[in-house]
């Protein structure tokens, strides 16, 4: 199996706080991976390093053999926590924007998904609710044929019905060579679609295992294991 992401003793500090500490991790292609941890555990820091938005203080990271940079961004589709599209844009303009920006963007997929979710492409982003904006953003990100999808909290703001549709979108839109990294707190909602989970706690990697193996060995759901490992 080929590796899509590899990091060795990855460390990131913000002043005196260590956000990530000596993370060693290797992720294969064709997986859906849950990046799970409590607030402030380093999930977003990790995702930002993958996307070249933060530079590690120590250690190294490779995406398909490349350091984070222009070339790696061509193959990574990133959904940040916060939206970055300007409010004045219409949904259709945001689609054109993505099409100009990314060679692997497939306009038709985006319009198909908008249609399925009953979203009007002529609406301006500022007129949309928070949840609807999140849907639009996810549609844009999932309409790329990327090798690695990094989704930071993709389902936080949307209603349960749309959540199912979004999970289906994720399942049906990635192909065998692509890997999806998904960070969220809503574990129970997503655990059936995950191949593997990564638990991080205070910047350290505490677990990286296939989901079915955890259920087999421990006889409990990822949700209950999470509650146990991160008990306050």
């Amino acid at each position: 199996m080929s590796v899509i992401l590899d990091c060795r003793s990855l460390t990131k500090k913000f002043g005196s706080t260590t956000a990530l500490s000596d993370v060693n991790l290797s992720l294969e292609r064709g997986r859906i991976i849950g990046l799970l941890g409590p607030n402030g555990s380093g999930k977003t820091t990790f995702i930002k390093i993958i996307n070249g938005l933060l530079v590690p203080d120590d250690g190294e990271i490779r995406i398909a053999g490349m350091e984070p940079g222009v070339e790696s961004k061509k193959i990574i589709s990133f959904l940040p926590e916060k939206t970055y599209l300007p409010d004045w844009m219409k949904v259709s303009e945001a689609i054109s924007f993505f099409k100009d920006f990314y060679e692997d963007f497939e306009e038709k997929r985006a319009y198909d998904m908008l249609h399925r979710l009953n979203l009007d492409p002529t609406k301006r982003l500022k007129t949309l609710s928070k949840g609807t904006k999140e849907k639009v953003q996810l549609i844009l990100v999932m309409s790329r044929r990327a090798d690695l999808y990094c989704l930071d909290e993709p389902i936080g703001g949307v209603d349960p019905a749309a959540r199912d549709y979004i999970l289906n979108t994720i399942i049906t839109n990635y192909d065998e060579n692509a890997t999806v990294i998904l960070s969220t707190h809503l574990i129970a909602d997503i655990e059936n679609i995950l191949d593997e989970v990564i638990f991080i706690k205070e910047g350290r990697l505490v677990l990286h295992e296939p989901v079915d193996e955890i259920r087999e060995k421990k006889g409990k759901s990822i949700d209950s294991l999470f509650r146990e490992v991160f008990k306050c």
Partner: protein
């Protein structure tokens, strides 16, 4: 097909069991073509890799087979399906009996209750 998944058992095993149940009940008939792994995965909202694993398991048991070009089919071996049915029923009943025994019921009491409940059911149906 309605998929019901709980969270403490490996997902692929639950998928295997549910497809077995469909075969036993006759919802899937011998020789029926199955939807693609990707479609089944989307229906059940599970990962395609997990659905693939369930299919591999069903293939190992001989309940489904792949025809290289045409797709994946339910076995036409009716003896195998009968055997599966027997196994399945035995294990469901065994599970039920174990639970009743945990409640301290003897076999004749269990049968007594079974009769009451099934009488009630048939009254309701009429």
């Amino acid at each position: 097909m309605q998929w019901e998944l709980n969270t403490d058992k490996p997902v692929y095993l639950q998928l295997v069991e549910q497809i077995q149940a469909e075969i036993i009940s006759g919802s899937y008939k011998p020789g029926d073509k199955l939807p693609s792994v990707r479609d089944l995965a989307a229906q059940a909202t599970v990962n395609p890799n997990t659905m693939q694993r369930a299919m591999t398991e069903l293939e190992r048991e001989g309940l489904v087979y792949t025809n290289r070009t045409a797709g994946r089919f339910i076995t036409s071996d009716e003896d195998l399906i009968k055997q599966l049915k027997k196994q399945y029923i035995t294990s469901v009943i065994q599970e039920f009996l174990d639970r009743m025994k945990q409640l301290g019921l003897e076999l004749d009491e269990i049968i007594h209750y079974l009769n009451i409940v099934s009488d009630n059911n048939s009254v309701i149906r009429r």
